[in-house]
Assembly symmetry: C2
Homo-oligomer: 268 residues x 2
DNA sequence: CGAGATTTGTACGTATGTATA
DNA sequence: TTATACATACGTACAAATCTC
């Protein structure tokens, strides 16, 4: 971690000072040239770091004025999630947070299944299914979590609704990080994972939206419940998830939900 | 428009060539120095433009190799939406696209109301309500659309579930662009807008989640229906003949008709 | 209100490291 | 192994917006 480049070092330093309270929202940061001198780097490096912080929604720069710290809790981007989760203040209401994050995951998965059921052609569905079956045997919890996320993303891709795909892409990156954190606690795939997914794909291939969504809902109920008990086991009584599976409802029409986007600033 | 800076010009040129098919997914772009010479700018400018295209999910650069065009339909980010909507191929299935985008809006609004109802304290709800009432009188369609979006975002903020806020932020930017396109066609706020919103806030303040969501659902039903008729009126039969006259329909299958766009970006 | 100082925005250049072909 | 090409970092110069006195 110590050898990640000057820009990364400068960005981390500034971000730590900001979330740590040294630079509270509203204050003006020192001039770029001053920061360069203070941090021992060139102004271009400071600018690159500030640019990345700007895409995180943490600072904003204006000509003649300077770089001001934003109210990052209110103006931030999804990429802040991993930073936020490492703060003590986030741990304070971890239960509520985890419940809401699981709900987001559920909404995303539902939308993925709905889109695929409604719009994907047979070949696309079969292709995603092959990808699922072709990579089983993996027992590493993190690898399993990533694969599961990718399956749902591929379902969105199969629908060919490209804007939905792009929103999914934006959601998936922070979700991946979250899964990377939770997976070691959640453990590997349940024993009936292959069976459950296979049945889900049966419903999707049959264009039976109602059954597909119901099956997914039951499956996630079970998975979330298991995750909860394991977390309680790991943390003691610290994390009761507040996930009401009040997600299906809706007497008629409509069902689940997608969401938003983020951006990053680095190449390769 | 003509004086937006070299980077913007270079980015736009490259993006047009890519989405236009000159550089199909998979091909390697010319070297940065070659592009700089060809486009009449410095290599740094080319790099900045390529960096922005990389954040859009359009290209990826690797050391020693070069910048390769990605499958941007599958790997893109939400910021691609305005560019995509300006393509003829997007217009082809505009009805389906608009239906799905309206569905996303509905899901987001529902989640906003739910989060506020569940977590926001009285002061926060009252604050959002004041913001709503304090800015009425605006009849400009675009201004109204932006204000409406902002109200729902503020509802999420009021919940204090910051990760949800960040996801909302990311989603809101492209949504704003979409609204900017549709608003002039949709017209200003309906006559009963204030009343409907006021009632919605009553339910939220009373923590009546069921009534709040039901009220919102009915309201959006009405709004979407009006939008549909106005779009049909505006476009008549001028756009794809494949568009059935029935634009909404609730059980399955959605439709309507959007249009094209462009966008800009900068820091500060 | 105006003038000058401050600060960021933009563009380009150079040098060196490093991965790829 | 060598040549190519990108990644990274620092620097310069000037333009443009803002702030301050």
């Amino acid at each position: 971690m110590t050898h990640a480049g000057e820009v990364v070092r400068v960005r981390r330093t500034l971000l730590e000072r900001i979330v740590g309270g040294d630079f509270p929202p509203g204050v003006r940061l020192p001039a770029e040239t001053d920061l360069a001198g203070e941090l021992g780097c060139g102004r271009s490096t400071v600018r690159e770091a500030l640019g990345q912080l700007a895409t995180l929604g943490v600072v904003a720069s204006r000509r003649g004025s300077g770089a001001h710290v934003l109210d990052w809790r209110r103006e931030g981007s999804p990429a802040l999630l991993p930073y936020y989760l490492s703060l003590p203040s986030a741990l304070a209401d971890a239960p509520r947070l985890l419940g809401e994050l699981l709900r987001m995951r559920r909404l995303l998965a539902s939308e993925a299944v709905r889109l695929a059921t409604r719009y994907a052609d047979d070949a696309a569905i079969a292709s995603v299914r092959r990808a699922l079956e072709g990579s089983d045997g993996a027992v590493d919890p993190v690898a399993h979590a990533m694969r599961e996320l990718e399956i749902f993303r591929q379902l969105v891709v199969s629908s060919g609704i490209w804007p939905a795909v792009w929103f999914a892409n934006a959601f998936w990156a922070p979700m991946r990080e979250l899964h990377g954190l939770l997976a070691p606690l959640a453990g590997g795939p349940p024993g009936d994972y292959e069976t459950a997914m296979s049945r889900l794909f049966d419903h999707v291939a049959a264009r039976d939206e109602a059954r597909a969504l119901a099956h997914l809902d039951r499956w996630l109920d079970k998975v979330d419940r298991e995750l909860e008990t394991r977390l309680v086991h790991a943390f003691g009584s610290a994390t009761p998830p507040a996930t009401p599976s009040k997600l299906r409802i809706k007497p008629r029409r409509k069902s689940a939900a997608p969401k938003a986007a983020s951006s990053k600033r680095s190449r390769s």
